[in-house]
């Protein structure tokens, strides 16, 4: 039973890392640019499908393909920002939300149009299993753990020790003050999308690897979990999104452990996430780790 728990903790950390990578970007654009991005899940799918194109259709190695996928998603995010979201500046949250819904439609259905509705997979041996102590992991899970460590390390460094990161945190806290202090808010918006797009693409690739198969709507189905992780961590807090994602992944997996009165029926894992979301919004909208702030 302990082995089962360890395995669940591991699985939870893997899915949690994916939520975290996705949520960090979603939280950044929400906090820094005031954009709740409904297309975020579709950015993830875009990352997975561009990688799929390079990896399976063009036969490139997975690592090279993944880098291409991350870069493509990142560029797409910047492009969408310039064409669609920048003209929306100064408009309300709901209007921007609705524009991103339109964006989500365009991306998802273009992917369906190009790649069809069948399930796709990367060129990787899904049957292989690595055994480390009591834990069994798939190659996809192993890659995800490595990618998550690198991505989270890079983002952490960027936020804490660079002018770009400081500027982002400053804008997230008080965008007017940041502007009069000299933060180039226009340039920062582009950089924020560049990072967010890259992270979303990476999250999509990892999710595709861990799930094994995916179609064009698999990112959209994850969106509400990503948002839950964002809210858990406090909107706009990148560190919070990291913690929120990991916590959500862990809770969802570990809740099925037999040790909890036989464990929660796995079918209800998502309900658990939903309850967590509503509770957080009601009780601590500033996030699990946030300081209460009067706005």
């Amino acid at each position: 039973m302990l082995d089962q728990l360890l395995q669940l903790v591991f699985n939870g950390l893997v899915t949690g890392s994916i939520f975290a990578i996705g949520a960090i970007g979603a939280s950044l654009v929400w906090g820094v640019l005031r954009i709740g991005n409904f297309a975020h899940g579709d950015y993830m799918a875009l990352g997975a499908f561009t990688t799929f194109t390079a990896n399976v259709l063009l036969g490139l190695p997975l690592v090279v393909s993944a880098l291409l996928g991350v870069a493509a998603t990142s560029l797409f995010a910047v492009l969408a920002h310039q064409l669609v979201l920048k003209p929306m500046r100064g408009r309300g949250l709901t209007s921007v939300f609705i524009v991103t819904v339109g964006l989500a439609f365009v991306i998802r259905n273009t992917l369906f149009l190009v790649f069809g509705s069948g399930a796709r997979r990367f060129d990787i041996d899904q049957a292989e299993v690595y055994v480390v102590g009591p834990i069994r992991m798939s190659p996809g899970q192993a890659i995800t753990i490595v990618c998550a460590l690198i991505a989270i390390g890079l983002v952490g460094w960027l936020l804490s020790s660079t002018n770009i990161g400081r500027s982002m945190r400053a804008v997230a806290e008080n965008s007017d003050l940041a502007a009069v202090t000299g933060v180039d808010t226009d340039g920062l918006a582009t950089i924020t999308w560049l990072i967010t797009g890259a992270l979303a693409g990476l999250a999509g690739i990892c999710l595709g690897l861990v799930q094994g198969t995916f179609d064009a709507s698999f990112g959209a189905y994850t969106l509400f979990l990503i948002f839950t992780a964002v809210v858990l961590g406090g909107i706009g807090s990148a560190y919070g999104a990291l913690g929120g994602g990991l916590a959500l992944g862990l809770v969802m997996e570990v809740s099925t452990w037999d040790g909890f009165a036989g464990g929660l029926d796995p079918r209800y894992k998502l309900i658990l996430a939903f309850i967590a979301l509503i509770l957080m919004l009601l009780v601590r909208p500033e996030g699990l780790f946030g300081k209460a702030r009067i706005v």
């Binding site: 609705i98 524009v99 439609f105 365009v106 149009l113």
Partner: protein, 321 residues
């Protein structure tokens, strides 16, 4: 061709009722509910489950609407006080949860296979026969009236649209009533209305429930139109279509809703005419995705360049929040 227009009108009627609900919630009260499709689903399922368990259709219909309103209140009580972006996230999550539950509670809903499995696999469940009897009665009446046998869709439309227009008139009246004016004032400046001693929370709950009830009615007609439905008929995109319709007409224009709905249903159903080059390179099944790409593009263009909608001109119709 007639068949095409009948389909468009039937779809548009259901969308009219559904979108009226969103107009009350979002356009008038300023509550962006991205999970309104869930109320449609709950009503449809509650009605179908009641019928297969022996309730007569006319008794099951109010059960469906009641279930939608009950769930609406359940969702609204904790969430309508939230900031608009939080509310949007909470409602989209609620919608997904309902769909997810319907997929997984197979004993109750028949699961992914749809309502045909309501009584368990192997028994073809049927919630629709009394409706079809009623509809064919109406069809007979109309056929006698016009002197020739009309398609059954005509009967469906002849029942649906009077209901839709009645509800439209009711919403039109509500929006102009002191109740509607108070809701609009809440949307503009909540604290000012609260300062006048009005119970803002109660008003928001009422607006949310009205929207849920209208979604419930739409859900009933949707269920009656088809003979089996499944949770995937209620994807989040359903609610997004209603947003398109409401925004298309200008978000507070009640009369523009049916126009927007017909236009939308026309464009939606009309994509089968998109078979010219270069679109003809796509397989006809894939061309369905093309219309969704177009819907997405249309939504983006509309919100960026014409936030007051196609028919709206007043500032109030503009999407600013």
């Amino acid at each position: 061709m007639l068949e095409f227009w009948l389909f468009v009108l039937a779809t548009a009627g259901i969308y009219t009722i559904f979108s009226l609900g969103l107009l009350v919630q979002f356009g008038i009260a300023g509550l962006p509910n991205f999970g309104n499709g869930a109320f449609m689903a709950i009503s449809a399922y509650a009605m179908a489950i009641s019928v297969v368990n022996g309730l007569p259709m006319w008794a099951a219909a109010p059960v469906g609407i009641g279930a939608a309103v009950l769930f609406g209140l359940l969702l609204a009580i904790p969430t309508v006080r939230l900031r608009s972006d939080y509310l949007a996230v909470a409602t989209i999550a609620a919608g997904e949860i309902v769909r997810y539950l319907a997929l997984n509670l197979q004993e109750l809903t028949g699961g992914a296979a749809g309502t045909v499995n309501l009584l368990g696999p192997g028994i073809a469940a049927d919630y629709n026969s009394s409706w079809l009897r009623f509809q064919s009665g109406v069809r007979g009446l109309i056929s006698n009236l016009v002197g020739q046998r009309v398609p059954s869709d005509v009967a469906f439309i002849a029942i649906l649209w009077p209901v839709a227009l009645l509800l439209l008139a009711a919403v039109w009246y509500m929006v102009r009533s002191p109740w509607g004016r108070t809701l609009r004032a809440i949307r503009e400046d909540e604290t000012a209305v609260a300062a006048l001693g009005k119970d803002v929370f109660a008003y928001k709950l009422q607006a949310f429930s009205v929207g849920a009830a209208l979604a419930g009615v739409a859900g009933l007609f949707f269920a009656w139109q088809v003979s089996s439905f499944s949770p995937d008929d209620f994807r989040p995109t359903l609610t997004f279509y209603a947003f398109v319709i409401v925004i298309l007409g200008g978000k507070t224009n009640v009369w523009a809703v049916p126009v927007g709905a017909v236009l939308f249903a026309g464009i939606f159903a009309g994509t089968r005419f998109l078979d010219f080059w270069p679109l003809s390179v796509f397989a006809s099944g894939d061309r369905a995705y093309l219309r969704l790409v177009l819907v997405g593009l249309g939504l983006i263009v509309l919100v960026i360049w014409r936030p007051q909608g196609i028919f709206g001109n007043r500032r109030e119709d503009a999407l600013e929040t």
